[in-house]
């Protein structure tokens, strides 16, 4: 298993063999404020890199989380349907959004240190 990597659009992903787990960064949840609703994708849906996968409603604004690479959804975090605040409380842990089978590997995300520098 590799380390968590980050995108400029504030998602994180973790590659484990052919499957990625994706969520949004602590910086992103902090910017959004209280998250009240998420629209998750369907298992089996296919996305190209950069496609909008998850819609996140916060009291401040609405935002989207994008696919870090070409992938097909294998699992969604259904806990978020009833407890969307999990993303605020643990964005890189229990607040993960979806898992997906990688269709075209693209491990070009930033390391934690690079992302920290990017957002500061």
């Amino acid at each position: 298993m590799s380390d968590i990597k980050y995108l400029e659009t504030h998602e994180w992903y973790l590659i484990n063999e052919e499957v990625i787990t994706v969520g949004i960064s602590d910086f992103a949840q902090n910017e959004l404020g209280d998250i009240v609703y998420v629209t998750l994708p369907e298992v089996g849906q296919t996305f190209e890199k950069g496609g909008a996968v998850v819609e996140v409603e916060a009291t401040k604004t609405v935002a989207e989380a994008y696919a870090p690479m070409d992938c097909t959804i294998t699992e969604v975090n259904t806990q978020l349907e009833t407890e969307p605040e999990t993303i605020n409380n643990d964005p890189c842990g229990d607040g993960w959004m979806f898992k997906a089978k990688v269709n075209a590997i693209d491990d070009s995300g930033m390391s934690y240190q690079e992302y920290e520098a990017f957002v500061s």
């Binding site: 404020g33 209280d34 009240v36 629209t39 009291t59 401040k60 609405v62 969307p84 605020n88």
Partner: protein, 339 residues
């Protein structure tokens, strides 16, 4: 250009506020989170720094002239009362919605931050004198069901929608959250004492994020959204504010709207989901089209709520919203969101 900050800016910073640009101002958006602060105000007591709003002191000699510019009867409400009213233009549209505090020796006018300079020019254009107290004072809104019991050992608490004075503070039992509370105007030299009193009482600072969810849940309009220079008080469903029987700017238009009932109309709605129909979302009730002016999540109702401006009176309560390409159903609500 650097944003303006209030006298309390360093207090906000030391309390880890997240800031948001609000017109010319940098103001606290939240401290511990919008939903937490919403909950504090609904169940206990919280305070808002609203010093970005204007504070104009006006002499009673100007009362008749002011009365030609607003839709409410400021002349006949008793001294020591507060009044919500709307400055209208020659077309009857809203220049600003404001609060007046009547005291024996003066009237305080509180315009919105975004409209302060416009209202000052408007007053000067109509030869109305005022003293701008904004830079030498702060305005703090203390709101929530426990506010009065927490504050009555230091403040003489007036009746609801009435004004009061003690210890150099002037205030009114008014607010913008739907909860009981008082809004206090204090001299800059008294700010530290006031804030330490509030914090010692366990009254928590709250930001503009919760102020917006609270006012929306309390069915209260926000200038720039439910009221603009293209919307009359009648159209904003604020006909109850039209108590001025004299002629005022735009009163002909307003009276004909009241008589004929043929005008655009603001309605409240709920959606049985947490999916939010935000500002500018299109919605239709049958063949009557509308545009959402404000929408957000209601923590108390645990669903999405908002205001929508329809082109004319809708004939059904079911609304179909187009939320980013998805059709979502909602319903018009004819009473207040919270009972």
């Amino acid at each position: 250009m650097d944003k303006k900050t209030t006298q309390l800016h360093s207090f906000h910073e030391s309390n880890n506020a997240k800031f948001i640009d609000f017109g010319d101002w940098s103001m606290p958006f939240s401290y511990e989170g919008t939903l937490k602060e919403h909950d504090i105000v609904r169940n206990s007591s919280g305070f808002f720094d609203v010093s970005h709003m204007g504070r104009l002191e006006i002499n009673y000699t100007e009362l008749d002239k002011i009365s030609t510019l607003i839709c409410s009867d400021l002349i006949n409400i008793p001294v020591n009362k507060a009044l919500y009213s709307i400055f209208t233009n020659e077309n009857g549209n809203a220049l600003d919605d404001v609060i007046f505090w009547k005291f024996e020796d003066k009237i305080i006018l509180i315009p919105n931050a975004s409209n302060e300079s416009k209202i000052k020019s408007h007053l000067l254009d109509h030869k109305i004198n005022f003293i701008d107290k904004s830079t030498e004072t702060v305005l703090i809104a203390v709101q929530g069901p426990k506010t009065i019991e927490l504050m009555n050992d230091r403040f003489d608490i007036p009746d609801k929608f009435s004004t009061g004075q003690s210890e150099g503070y002037i205030y009114a039992r008014t607010g913008y959250t739907g909860e009981d509370g008082i809004e206090i105007m204090a001299n800059n030299s008294d700010v530290d004492s006031l804030i330490s009193f509030l914090t010692q009482k366990g009254i928590k600072p709250c930001g503009l994020g919760s102020r917006d969810t609270l006012r929306l849940e309390a069915s209260l309009p926000l200038y720039g959204f439910e009221l603009t220079e293209d919307i009359t008080p009648v159209e904003a469903s604020l006909s109850w504010t039209i108590t001025n029987n004299r002629d005022f700017l735009g009163s002909d238009t307003i009276k004909s709207q009241l008589d004929e009932g043929n005008h655009k109309i603001l309605k409240k709605f709920t959606i049985d989901s947490r999916k939010i129909a935000r500002t500018d979302t299109l919605g239709s009730a049958g063949d009557v089209k509308g545009t959402v002016t404000s929408g957000n999540f209601s923590p108390v109702l645990n669903k999405s709520i908002g205001f929508i401006m329809f082109e004319n009176k809708p004939s059904q309560d079911l609304i179909e919203f187009d939320i980013r390409g998805n059709l979502i159903e909602g319903n018009i609500v004819n009473k207040r969101f919270l009972s």
